[in-house]
Subunit: 326 residues, 2 copies
């Protein structure tokens, strides 16, 4: 089935059918005829021919650092949902946490004439800047903020603040903050900064800051030394994964949570609810952030105005992993 056959069957010119398909002006009468023929034949336009002429597609490329992460999945689900409803297609490009592949993906997606790019960002390097600069395609960052780009971010700083306030309200005076590298602005800098703001004016409160990677296993390894030398009453962990590592390490040495040690996380990962005891955490709405991202990229594609930074919400979920000391 081609547009030519449809045109012939409907007794009109190809261009008229094309106009009908693209919402151009067609008389009611011919509209009906074409509609009829298309229904009968089940005709679907050839995407390649269309894209070849129009020099663009209705595909939004989303670059993700990894596929096997709760945050990624939920965000993708949100993006997918909104894109689908608006007749855009989602193309997922997985980079397996390889920044080189991330840059390659940018060029590769541009080459496929995708309409826009959503990047679930971790770090933005000069090579990212250069690539985005070259390709001239609407771009939206999710999870990290950068003054060169539009972005949808989580409220990491405020989440850190709320966690801090809560921990203090439960009477904790000796806190181990287990964070990550400051190269990650959102997770490494902002969550900590928010936390610091909350504890700053409590003079009796002592906080020591430690750093680990995003890996659960690394947190398990780091735990014993910190716990033994510093003896904190609580571990405030910069991610749920780290919190899970700390929980595992603590339970392995027979500690009762939260009686012997309290723990908090960030993220709102499903496991934190399943696990026993369930973990107090700041829950980010990843799926909603995905929907916001999709909405914004669509607007960008249509040259509509949007805010430079859209902040997605969070909620503090108080569960069973923090002991009340006062």
């Amino acid at each position: 089935m081609t547009i030519a056959e449809i045109a012939k069957l409907a007794g009109v010119a190809k261009s008229t059918v094309s106009r009908y398909l693209n919402g151009g002006s067609v008389s009611e009468n011919t509209k009906l005829k074409i509609e009829q023929v298309i229904k009968e034949t089940g005709y679907v336009p050839n995407t390649f021919a269309r894209s070849l002429k129009a020099k663009k597609t209705s595909i939004v490329g989303t670059i993700v650092p990894r596929l096997n992460s709760y945050a990624t999945s939920q965000t993708l689900i949100g993006i997918d949902e909104h894109l689908r409803e608006n007749n855009y297609q989602l193309l997922i490009s997985n980079t397996s946490q390889d920044l080189n592949r991330e840059v390659e993906s940018i060029y590769s997606l541009a080459n496929q004439k995708i309409a826009g790019i959503i990047l679930l960002a971790t770090q933005i390097t000069d090579r990212h800047l250069e690539a985005f600069d070259k390709i001239n395609v609407p771009v939206l960052l999710v999870g990290q903020q950068n003054h060169h780009f539009y972005s949808v971010i989580h409220n990491d700083e405020h989440a850190g603040y709320e966690i801090g306030k809560y921990v203090i309200s439960q009477g904790h005076k000796k806190i181990a903050y287990l964070g990550v590298t400051e190269e990650d602005i959102a997770v490494g800098v902002k969550r900590k900064r928010g936390f610091q703001k909350a504890v700053r004016y409590d003079n009796e409160c002592e906080v020591h800051y430690f750093e680990t990677s995003f890996k659960l296993t690394e947190a398990i390894k780091k735990f014993p030394a910190i716990f033994e030398t510093y003896k904190p009453s609580i571990f405030v962990c910069a991610t749920d994964n780290i919190a899970l590592g700390v929980l595992k390490a603590a339970q392995m040495r027979g500690l009762k949570i939260p009686k012997d040690l309290s723990i908090t996380g960030f993220g709102g990962y499903e496991v934190t609810e399943i696990i026993h005891p369930s973990i107090t955490t700041a829950n980010f709405f990843y799926k909603e952030a995905g929907i916001l991202a999709a909405k914004n990229i669509v607007k960008l594609i249509n040259n509509e105005e949007i805010e430079k930074v859209t902040v997605s919400n969070f909620e503090l979920i108080i569960r069973d992993s923090v002991d009340k000391l006062n």
Copy 2:
């Protein structure tokens, strides 16, 4: 940059450049010239023009029931990896567990002239059969077997058998098997069948079979009634998710695992290791199955022979959730 410009710069005809690009016969000399020009200009062929003529692409569509599942992520990672290495592109189509959307996706992918389809299958209905029949594209099933299709499956039956053997070897005599609907052949039928084979000849062993859904929360709800009326020494759960639900429910009522109750799962989900106590389970190699699937679909696309059914391996992982009673 178009092929015409490259041709002009290299001083040859478009068709010669095209032949060079597609591995046709070109003299060493012209090959060098073209190579040079392409390098200088950074020319990349237009995919749409190419696909429009060639009437096919190098895209493999993978239809997944859901994005937020460990099994799905791992399988996709495997598929992605092997496809990338072989210059195919992966297009992921998420159906959010909606069988209608699954069927729609089949047609939609076919319409995009993808080279092949991998379906992470749950159930195969007549409408699936009809769709695949119509589109005439190589198809491969993952996770479920069906005599109409090529497939890569997990060794569910043998895994069930090994779990059964192990449970008996630990002296359990009163077993609750918590399974799922038999509409799911792999999970609902085969795992149970394997398990039954293992326990069949142990006369002292009593097994009661129960059914729940795939949802963790449902397992939590089902737990109390089963536990109180039947009082088993172990819950053999048909998935890790169900096992996690049982664990949660048991811990909520203060039971010590495995002292008061033993639990096993199927799947090898990451959480089963993190959680305390860690759960004994049959670990399926999802990523490897993904690689196998990608290998097979590529062969199918190239008209190479493959086995109708490829069985992916598993391993029994013995951890801390089963008590030794003998």
